[in-house]
Every structure is written in C-alpha cells, then in structure tokens.
Symmetry: C2
Subunit: 338 residues, 2 copies
DNA sequence: AGACATGTGTGCAACGTTGTAGAGTCAGGA
DNA sequence: TCCTGACTCTACAACGTTGCACACATGTCT
C-alpha cells in the first residue's frame, strides 16, 4: 500500500530506526548514511504516517479552534488569521462551531474529539462566569474573548474597555454629546458588551456627560439584523442622539442602514462608529469608522501560547497569562465633526 | 494516563476485544455482558484513542476543505455549511487556505498533510484547465467550482450559466437594456466568470440586445475593492448603462457604493444585482437583489459524495459525478422597473 | 595500556486499537 | 447419542512509529 519506514530502510540498507533518526534530525548519523536515507526517501516518495506518529508520541499536530459561527465575518477573519499562524508553526486547524450555545460549548470542552487535537483555542459566547470551573481541563487551552475571568487558562483578548472608551472619546472630541449605544447586554459585566459599555461610561464621565439609558439599546445577538432592529427601537423611543456606537461592525452597519432609510444623514446628522474593522467596513456607504482590535496579533499570540503549552507538555511552571492586543481607531467617512 | 480498552476490560471482567466489540456494535455479545461493559465505560469515562483507531483502520475521521480564503464571505459561509454537513456524518473538517495561488494549490494536492485526512473537498481558483492531470490523485476528492472540467473526480457546483442568464433576464424583464458587467475575466471560458458571462450573453441574445464590450469591466479578483475600482473605471468610460450585474455580491456592493457616491440613485437610475446571496446582501443600502446559488445544497452534496467515496474505499465502480445545485433569485431593493 | 567519552547504528518493546482465527458453550435435529 | 451450527468470547498479531537500552567503533586523556 503506502511506503513505510521499512521500505525506506530496505532501500537504503539501514535499520528502520536509523531512517527514523534521520527524519527526526537525530544528530549522531554519519553524513553519507544520512544522504543515502534521504535519497531513498526521495526515490520512494516516503511520507510519514501521522496516525502512527500520533499514537507513539501522543501529539496529533492539529489544534482545534472553537468559535460561534464562521458566517459571522469577525470569526471568519479570526479563523483566517489563526489558520495562517498555525501553519507557520506546522499545525493543522480543525474548526468547531458552537453557535454560541452554552450546552454545545460545555459539551465541546469534554468531547472525545479533544483527543484528536493537541490543544484548543476557544472563543466562548454562551458560557458565563459560573462556568469557569469547566475550563479546568487536562489539555492545553487558550481562551479568546472575556466572558470568563480568573480561569486557570491562558487568555488572549482585545483591550475592550480602553478601545470602547477611545471610540467614545473620538466621537465626543468631534462635538457629539449624545452617543447612543447599540448592542449592550442587560446586566452583563464581564463580556465584551459589558466591558465596552464600561469604556463608554468612563468616557462619558471623563467628559462630564450624564449617562442616559434611553439611548442605550440592548440586543441579544450581534448580527446585522439586530443592529437594524435596535435602531428601529431607538428611533421609536423618540429621544435625541447625534452619534451611534455599535458594539461591533455588523451592528453598526445594520443600524446605519436603518438610520439612512429613516432620512438621517451619516455622518452629518448622526455619526456612526463600529468595532472590529471588518473588511466590509471599508466599503459600506459611507465607509465605517471603527476600532481595529488587533485581530492578527490575537491569533498570533493565541497560537504561540498554545504551542508553548503543548510543548511544555503539562509542566505547568508558567502561570496563566493574559495578553491584551493593541487596538487602533480607523477613521473613515461615517464620523465627522458636528 | 488516559483510560484505555484495557482499563475498561479489567473493570468489566472481560477481554479487551469484547470491549472493542461492544463499542463497534458487534452483534454477538450477550446483553448482560454488553451492559457491564457499557457501565464500565461510563464509570471510567473511556474515550477511544483516535490515533490508534486510525492507525489500525486507515481512516482518520477528518476531511480537508481547501479554499482560497476565509476572509471572503462566500467561502466563510461555504465553510460553515461544510462543517455543519460533515458534523452530521461524524467527520472533522480541517481548513486549508490557498490564497487562490496555483502553486499552493498544486502543492496542497500532494502534500503529506493529505495523510492526515480521509479525503479532500477542494475549491481551486488558481489552477487552470491544463492542470486537470494533477487532480488524478489516489485519495477521495470532490471538486467545487468549475475551473477544471472532465477531471477524474466528483464535481459539485452551481448552475452558473443558467443563474447568470436568469439574473440578466431578471433585469431585462424590468426594462433594462444596458446591463453592465463587473468582474469578467479576460478570455476565460470555464471559470465562474466565463460561465456567468456566457449566461449573460445568452440572455442578451435571447432578448435581441446587442453585446457592447464597453460596459463589461474586467477585474482580477472579486473583492469589494475590485468592484469599487471597476465601477470607477466604468464611469470613466462615459458610456451609458442602466443596470449592473456584479459577478458576485462583494463586487456588486463595492460597485454600488461608488455608483451612489457618484450621484446615481439605486435602483431608479441604475439597478444592481449580485451573485452569492451573502448575509450582508440583506443589509446593504439598498439591500441587494442577488442570486442564491444553493450553497448549503452544495456543501451537503459535496460531503455526501466524499463520504461515499471514502466508504467505497477506492472501489471506483461509480464514475465521476457532476451535481449542479438549484439556484434562485432573491429580489430585494437594488432592482426596480425602469 | 587502560579508562573513558563520544559517535554511529541496531533491536526490542510499546503506543491503543481492530481483524482473524479459533475455543468453548449450548440448542436442536438426525 | 452424536453432529452441526449459531452464539459468545478470547488470544494473538498486526498497523507504523519512536523511546530506551545497548553494541560496537573510534578517538582522547591519563
């Protein structure tokens, strides 16, 4: 069937162990032996059997990336970055979609599928603070996002509070005093929505602007449709506002569309800012000012942390680390001075 | 370390083979033995070692999905569907990104990474007709898209010609006679661009409308930026047109934005239609009329074909099949009667 | 010369699973 | 009674790889 070490060994006139040694760059192999083996490998087109190697070594060479849904552009772009980063360190990526559902997230953490991968990069959405204990797992795990703090795991995420504060201040600096929020989550403290709201509040306070809950709209999800619905609700409330901070780009784009249909000019009447810097933010009409949260940095660091943990092989001398990526505000056409 | 068949066997007081038999639903096991084994499995939390199973059986349980780029919404949504479909038949999906680069595509076809997966679902972009021979590989392969015909492989794709013809006729039926194209590929015949152009030409001919190459704009890629650039070029040509057919949604959205900035009203002055039915087509301003190419059907059929091939295990009695998914036109706001 | 380190290569066992062949038991029919 | 076949379970040997222990050669230092 397939070419194995045995075939190569026979062709090169050495033992299979020597072939194995050559492949694994074991140093004590004579140059000419090494050459002979390499030649035989070349000639026969030998490719190592990953299953056998995994069985022996306990490593599979694959990492899992669990996220809510690839159809959400943010996660698609994140997956892109993670796959790139993983490829650079010679790992495959297996993607699992949770739909943001708590049950599926918990299931996934202890699924037999974990055996197939060396580690997991996990972006939870449905799980809450109470579920932190579930994260104490026996395999390398890196968490993205921040629904759960103080877990026993490495953590890579964006500077939600600072970035949201910066976004709000960006609007305030351009003369906006009534900044509406689209995408808040009722009572949430530690999720992205909670943190971004905190940044918003900090900015308001620093500027001496009173908080008005009437211009804060809650949504369950962060899809375009939710942004649109939220904006309809906001308009129905009939309170004044001169800017909108969408807690992500899709929310902002959905909201912006409804605003425009309702006859508001963006950015003149209402400035709009988003969060994520999706590719499409560049091509909306008007193009969307947004926060670039440092996605590729997040992917890069997550993969690096995970492979470090994998290589440390459970020797947990390094305590859980938290990495916060650099953000920056990308100014486009949807914001202007009042 | 980890719980193995041996541990379960000891706990249940049977041989490991019996445990294996229970797990694999071998029928000749007494009910009470089966129960005892199941109990032991439950108690110990046994999970089979996939590497060992792969080594023994030659199957890995994973399939690879190779596509240009997850950042392109179409492929992200396709990947979403493929992962869903694969999960239903108990397979993992490993995603590989080619960037649409021919070299990387060819490399990927013979990469040692193929050993890690039972089969490949491949959406090539850079490869051309001359590369058909490279597709004659020793593992199960299903091709998406149609840059290469008459290969020795299963093929799942959309009805490009009919759908493009239908889209064009949709515009013509609404009184448009000057339908511009955004996204054609110079000289291409068998790719999506070539086929969609053919559908366009068929529709023109059927309606007795002369072809005017001045309103056909070529692009290299199909990103938003290309749509925007193409539309600027079209406007610069200063020829009349009353509709735009973007060969995909991102092109159409990019083009629509430039149109609007230039002062044209969509759909009154210019109607715009896209292709793909991305989620965001629903939330642009105006929302985009487009062709839904049957993405989930494509994913479903591709996974099913591949698993059939995998299970047939090389017994190639079934000849290469071609499946064309159903399409339908989704009418939204970007098109109207002249 | 002897002791010792270093370089080069090998054989064996093991990773955890499943296919094959076969041993033992039991019921039913000749 | 014996034979046959079905049922139930088991031992053994693989799948292809790598860690370990060791054998042997060669060089280096007392």
């Amino acid at each position: 069937m397939s070419v194995t070490l045995h075939d190569v060994a026979r062709a090169a006139g050495v033992s299979i162990k020597t072939v194995s040694n050559v492949i694994n760059d074991y140093p004590h192999v004579r140059a000419d032996t090494r050459a002979r083996v390499h030649e035989a490998i070349e000639q026969l087109g030998y490719q190592p059997n990953l299953s056998a190697r995994s069985l022996r070594s306990g490593r599979t060479g694959a990492i899992a990336l669990a996220l809510p849904e690839l159809s959400l552009s943010y996660f698609a772009e994140l997956a892109d970055s993670v796959i790139e980063a993983a490829e650079r360190v010679g790992q495959f990526v297996i993607i699992e979609q949770t739909g943001g559902d708590r049950e599926r997230e918990l299931q996934l953490l202890s699924s037999w599928r974990r055996k197939m991968t060396d580690g997991l990069i996990f972006s939870p959405l449905g799980m809450g603070m109470d579920d932190a204990a579930h994260l104490d797992v026996a395999y390398p795990l890196v968490l993205l996002g921040e629904r759960i703090f103080d877990g026993p795991t490495d953590h890579v995420t964006m500077r939600n509070v600072e970035a949201a504060r910066a976004a709000t201040e960006f609007l305030i600096a351009r003369g906006r005093r009534r900044v509406a929020i689209v995408g808040a989550h009722e009572g949430e403290v530690i999720g992205s929505a909670g943190l971004r709201l905190r940044g918003y509040l900090e900015a308001l306070e620093a500027a001496g602007i009173p908080y008005d809950e009437r211009i804060v709209v809650h949504t369950t999800l962060w899809h375009r449709a939710n942004g649109a619905t939220a904006m309809r609700e906001l308009l129905a409330r009939d309170v004044e506002f001169d800017a909108v901070f969408g807690f992500n780009d899709t929310l902002a784009l959905g909201a912006m569309r409804v605003l425009q249909v309702a006859g508001y000019r963006v950015p003149e009447d209402v400035s709009v800012i988003g969060f994520d810097d999706l590719d499409e933010a560049m091509y909306s009409l008007p193009s969307l000012t947004t926060v670039n949260p440092g996605r590729s940095e997040i992917a890069e660091v997550a993969v690096r942390s995970l492979t470090e943990r994998i290589e440390a092989n459970g020797d947990t001398e390094v305590p859980p680390r938290l990495h916060l990526a650099q953000f920056r505000i990308v100014e486009r056409e949807s914001t202007a001075t009042a």
